[in-house]
Assembly symmetry: C3
Homo-oligomer: 133 residues x 3
């Protein structure tokens, strides 16, 4: 078992940050041939997801849709004012699991791994673990 973490800096209140190459670099540097790779988000107002990376408009549309699903103009109880970000974290999920084979993350043709910032900008991090089986 190998594990670690890396930083993710965000520059907007809400955005998707592609972290796929950082993960692929970790796999290469550690000579991991195969295994189960889990990426975990330790923040309560952020998430992690896998979606299309080719057209940045898709990322904008995802952020826009999530904003409409969890509107900010509602009298939430939590005084810190970021309850929508907490709801978005639960809708998106706190981890993704994917496979490594022949030293490569096994993603579909259009898939990339994204850190989801819902309450930025902030300095964030992701943690990862690979079980070689």
């Amino acid at each position: 078992m190998l594990s670690g973490e890396f930083g993710v800096g965000t520059s907007s209140p809400m955005e998707l940050i592609d972290v796929t190459s950082q993960l692929q670099d970790i796999i290469a540097k550690n000579n991991i041939a195969q295994g189960l790779c889990t990426i975990f988000n330790p923040h309560t107002t952020a998430g992690v997801t896998i979606n299309e990376g080719a057209d940045p408009d898709v990322q904008d549309d995802i952020i826009g849709a999530i904003r409409r699903i969890v509107p900010s103009d509602y009298p939430y109880k939590h005084r810190e004012g970021n309850s929508p970000s907490h709801v978005m974290a639960t809708l998106t999920g706190s981890s993704v699991s994917l496979f490594v084979a022949q030293g490569q993350l096994q993603l579909g043709t259009w898939q990339r791994i994204f850190f989801c910032e819902f309450d930025g900008p902030r300095q964030r991090k992701l943690t990862w673990q690979i079980l070689s089986g």
Copy 2:
């Protein structure tokens, strides 16, 4: 560690396809007694979920509700026109994890594993991996 993939053909723009017996067959054929089973969806306009399989109305209600949560009549930026399907993929998630014990998938009484088609009909696939621990 064992891994593989299988095809899933869909026949509607949006539908849930029960893939539980295909997975159970894989476990039986490979004589897997126990482990962690991960099912991964490599598509960006589809998902995978675990929910009730007994009454098909539940599947229709889930599809209907997701359609209302992510409406199609919005001026999305992505020109391909399937942004709602990408949003649905992120809301549903790209993988499910469950346990195998005594050679059986450990599902609750009413649970079944479903491929979620959000941009069909298409020929799709799911990938799987089992870590025996």
Copy 3:
């Protein structure tokens, strides 16, 4: 590989129940130093999520928001009347994955693990598995 289950009693139609200390106790009692911990919810009208545990208002806001995202006043087909709960189960997800290191669940500062009741009150359970790698 270690696995087991524990009961979760709920007292409201919808609520989040913090189960973090039950899981940490399991890890301590079994002397688990490191691994991948998966928590699985075997029910189709409940979920499991990781979110903030410090301010109970966050939990109330999450429940309230999910209720508005999946309204109950819609003519669902499923006769049992709990279709919204099934939709919520799919939006939240059926499992969470997190890491164990130095005998401790590796949660972020504000994170706690919650059973999500969407069709209570009921006597429920969660199952868990830890792969030591």
